[in-house]
């Protein structure tokens, strides 16, 4: 299980650029990124090397940010790779809030970020099924 940094985004032009520039200025590399948006605001979700530090850094600059537990699962980059995991969740009634993928794949595996309601339980199930997690 890893920590995701979740960031509130006001719906105005250039806001995502401002935040990514702040992160770039601190030399923070983004391993994964996703944006959820509504009509009037958005939520930027990022995976970085030092989430606690990044979150503190952003808050000090007036950004509303919070840490969220998410699963970072290594999934085989092939047809049905994700489906097999989701089947495990479905069979165990684990609800998924959202899913996104990380920037890179290596050795035929892709890293998938999954937010579920009960991450501990989900992690245990995945490990038992032979998956490796970040």
């Amino acid at each position: 299980m890893i920590k995701q940094v979740s960031i509130f985004l006001e719906n105005r032009a250039g806001r995502v650029a401002e935040i990514t520039e702040m992160l770039a200025g601190m030399g923070i590399n983004l391993d994964a990124i996703s944006i959820a948006d509504t009509e009037s605001y958005g939520i930027l979700r990022i995976i970085v090397e030092n989430p606690e530090q990044t979150c503190d850094f952003l808050r000090k600059r007036g950004v509303t940010a919070t840490l969220t537990d998410v699963l970072d699962v290594n999934v085989r980059h092939e047809p049905g790779g994700l489906a097999r995991i989701l089947k495990i969740f479905a069979d165990n009634s684990i609800t998924i809030e959202y899913i996104y993928t990380s920037m890179s794949t290596k050795d035929g595996y892709a890293s998938i970020i999954i937010r579920v309601e009960h991450p501990e339980e989900a992690e245990e199930l995945l490990r038992a099924a032979g998956y490796t997690l970040g």
Binding site: Q4, F8, E10, Y41, V63, T64, R115
Partner: protein, 435 residues
Amino acid sequence: MKYYNEAIETMPRDAMRALQSERLRNTVERMYAYVAPYRRLMDEAGVKPSDIRTIDDITKLPFLSSENLRENYPLGMIAVPREKTTRIHASSGTTGKPKVVAYTQHDVDVWSECVARCIVSAGAGENDVIQVAYGYGLFTGGLGLHYGAENLGATVIPTSSGNTLRQIEMMIDLGSTYLCCTPSYALYIADTMEKNNIPVELLSLKGGIFGAEPWTEEMRREIEKCLNIKAYDIYGIAEITGPGVACDCECQNGMHVNEDNFYIEIIDLVTGEPLPDGERGEVVFSCINKEALPLLRYRTHDISYITREKCECGRTLVRLMKPSGRTDDMIIVRGINVFPSQIESVLLSVKGVSPHYLIIVDRHDNHDTIEVKVEVSPEIFSDKIRGLQSYAEEIQRKMDSVLQISAKITFVEPGTLPRSEGKAKRVIDNRKLYT
């Protein structure tokens, strides 16, 4: 029919002053005798009922404001036993509690006569078909116009507000000759007709009596053009009686005040001293012919001026000109009074919501909109869209039930809303309501 009550409406000034003096004396005596909070105020001001001989002595009396109603909520200011009242209305207060107003049968009768005078002064008579599209209920608009039109002997169609297409259908099918509603709703009706390709020629309308919210001369001309009618302004606030305190005549040059019942003064915004005719200040009303709630020197927060110059219509009643602003931060949206403090208390009742907010009022296609920008606080922010959305929905639900307004809630980043020393600017009103 030129006047509803010619004797009063064209009464020589001296006779009017005599009538006002007598009614003021009676009212002060009753207020002093029966309303303990008012007796205390008079005692504090060192004035006795016997000090009030003529209407000019009214300046010796203390002012009243919505604060006094709030302190004595709900009915602590009434001058009759509750059993004697026959009607209750209410309008928004600055905090959670509304301003509750009460009437005896005498008060309802006087009120409906005043409204009847207004309807006649707006050119209508007993043969007219009057469609009342103000909201019916605690709001004084609907029932106020209704009783006035009935008193006159006109045919009343109580459509209340909303359901615009049915409103138009009734107007056409029943041949309504007068429409009573908020001026913005009149324009909304006109827009709706245009969008649905309903020609204005199908209407039998001759005039409209519009009020409950500020409007400009430009809006008047627009309504007159779109609906092919004459548009008359009617003034009133619930604390004084409701609509019918004053109304335009055919000259459309100031609203004649029913001053045999509601005595008007204009006071200096800073010193509270009475101002001469023609000078702009705060409008203050005294109810000198009311039993249940005869508020005296009640500060309305409306800014305007009066004139006693002779009016071509023949009425001698003093004229109140269109208000040009407010002394407080009250906003009127679709005829409903809203105070920023009410919105604030709704926001603060939702756990974790920050007290920093900005209210943006706008008008699109003659429909008023309220947007409330709220700063996101770390307590309510979560990684899930659903999280913030449910806060927005909770705020909206509460606004709807407490204020009867639907507002759009927009979350903004912390620290981005204006802050200032003392009173922050909480409202941006993009409507052009005052000239």
